[in-house]
Amino acid sequence: MNPSSAPIDFRTNTQRVPRQIVTSVRKATTRFLGTRAGVVGQVENWEELREAGHNIRLHAINHLDHYLEQMERRVTEAGGHVHWASTAAEAREIVLSIARQHQAKSVVKAKSMATEEIGLNHFLEAAGIRALETDLGEYIVQMAGTGPSHIIVPAVHLTKEDIADLFSEKLHMDAPADPIRLAEIARQKLRQEFIAADMGISGANFLVAETGTVVMVTNEGNGRMCTTLPRVHVAVAGIDKIVPDWESLTVLLKLLARSATGQKITTYTSFITGPRRSAAEHGPQEFHLVLLDNGRSPALRDPLTRETLLCIRCGACLNVCPVYNHVGGHAYGWVYSGPIGSLLSPQLLGTKLAGDLPFASSLCGACGDICPVKLPIPQILLHLRRRVSEGDEIEPARSSRFARWGARVGAGVLTRPWLYRLTGSVLKLVQVPFRHDGWLAALPPPLNRWTMSRPLPAFNARFRGWWSQHQSTVKRS
């Protein structure tokens, strides 16, 4: 999915969500949360583990420059090439030029949010290079022509019937609505592609600076095929993926698998350190690592948003988010969705495009409580709301003049007790024509934004009167 230049309109997007999507999403998130709760319950010191994960990630991003340089050194020592991309465009160009050097015509891809973020597939296709997603979920959403609707389960919004229909249409076959058969069909199609591909592209779950190792966790084995079969392997990773050493990695792997899919460990955990050492070994002849900034450095510079980069992309905050569960991932308008999407998109795309998203939360706090690395999601959402409404050192205010005026008037009333009391009395009076049975069923704008969903209790500021009467009776008695 390419970030377009039109601002994300979250409200309009939510109004277009088909009911069936909500059902599919809910089914999956409930299952994930259930299995997660099971395995987390078995870990005695889960809270300590979260704390440790938080500290490891915080240390890593606080010393990012140091560890990134170390990563670069180690990868180079292992015979790999490291490229620095400060923007999405730079990253795309780097990948394209590597592909061109090798006259690559077709590319196989392992699941990677970083390449979704930079819109790599469309770019390569436009340059005449076929890029095929090989993770089953990504394969499906690529076929459907949409982006992922969940950071770990890209096709979570589709039912098996939807997928069967899609396969039948696009692959010109009669595909049954049976998950095992569907996976089998995809596997057969993909096998030929792996063998024919000139280049493999992957993301990275972690980058271990100590040894220059790219770590990938997957459940399908496609990641391993993408990174070993083709002659060239290019890994694209956000600079925030860094971890200092293998000890830290162990902690994070424990947290990640459990939080994401409720597994103790994923089926495949791949460790890739440079290309193959000799012709006798398996693996690619060339290895490239593209380190992607794309808005991460500015996020790092602001102490109030810095912790966004702690995220290990487990998706637990999506699963637990009541808003996400009611709207699905596409409503968030870009590749990242749910609470973490509401933090990342406004920072990576800017508040001009994604200023709606920090408000796409009831601030219930469930995300912050479940996050395996204790990312203070609600606090950062609040900070981004402030950035949108008032502006800060990073971006100017994006709020409407009406909203700013409303806030000023509101604060004027609430800091003048007499005016506040007067307003209460006035509201009690003017509501009379709308009042029925103690309720206000329909009100003029802006209060209609409440009454369109449910009536408002009638204004009834009588406590102060009651209190003074109560005081005098108490005194008398």
Partner: protein
């Protein structure tokens, strides 16, 4: 502990003997009955109740919509008013207490006198059920409410203040009351303050889910400790033509008195 032997313990007596009402704008505008019952209940427990009449709203709508300078102005006013008082500051709404206690100090730079004042004053703020159970050590109010009820855990009360058992403990001691579990007890009802008016459709579908769960629980009423959740849930019930009720904990604890 019953009402008879539930007088404040020696240690807490001075502090708990007198409380300041922090009525919150939503409760003032929409739930005056809750406030009135709250005063009566506290007085029945021999607590001296005072009401700083200058108070208005805690500024949460501004804070949560990103208008921090307006939130700061309102907070300053609130602090001016309550700094002049003594004893615990007690409120029937969890989210307002959470805002005041946890976010007011953030509004003023650390190390400044205003920050210090914010910390000091807001350390006295308590949510109603928290105050009864943790400060007054009262868990039984000898109330009578012969109905099946369920409990909705308001988000900020639960996650912000860490209050989850206190309201249920109080409910369990109500005569005749049967407390039934609520599926998704800790799931947001969709209120979210400004969220409910910025994204009314999403807010509504969250609220409808909550009401479906309440209906499925078999309860006759749902109890919560936050004016925001109550106006959302009660409004939704009315819209759906439901016969269920949404009640504030205080309404149940003062029933049959």
């Amino acid at each position: 502990m019953t009402l008879a032997n539930s007088k404040p313990q020696e240690f807490d007596r001075n502090m708990a003997a007198k409380v300041q009402l922090f009525i919150t704008c939503l409760a003032e505008q929409f739930f005056p009955g809750v406030l009135e019952r709250m005063v009566e209940l506290l007085e029945r427990l021999d607590v001296q109740v005072e009401f700083p009449e200058e108070q208005t709203c805690c500024g949460q709508p501004f804070f949560n919509s990103g208008f921090q300078s307006e939130a700061r102005q309102v907070a300053r006013k609130w602090l001016d008013i309550f700094a002049r008082t003594e004893g615990f500051i007690v409120s029937p709404s969890g989210s307002c207490v959470d805002l005041v206690r946890h976010h007011y100090p953030e509004l003023f730079p650390a190390g400044t006198p205003e920050h210090a004042r914010a910390l000091e004053v807001t350390s006295r703020v308590r949510e109603f059920s928290e105050f009864l159970v943790k400060e007054l050590h009262v868990t039984d109010l000898e109330a009578r409410f012969p109905h099946k009820v369920t409990y909705h855990a308001s988000c900020h009360l639960l996650r912000g203040l860490g209050v989850s058992e206190e309201p249920k403990t109080l409910l369990k001691n109500v005569r005749g009351l049967e407390l039934v579990p609520l599926e998704g007890e800790q799931t947001c009802c969709g209120f979210g303050g400004v969220f409910s008016v910025i994204y009314p459709e999403v807010s509504r579908s969250m609220m409808e889910d909550k009401i479906r769960a309440i209906e499925a629980s078999g309860a006759e009423a749902v109890v919560a400790c936050d004016a925001g959740c109550l106006m959302n849930i009660a409004g939704g019930m009315r819209k759906a033509g439901s016969r269920l009720k949404a009640l504030h904990l205080i309404e149940v604890l003062t029933a049959g008195q």
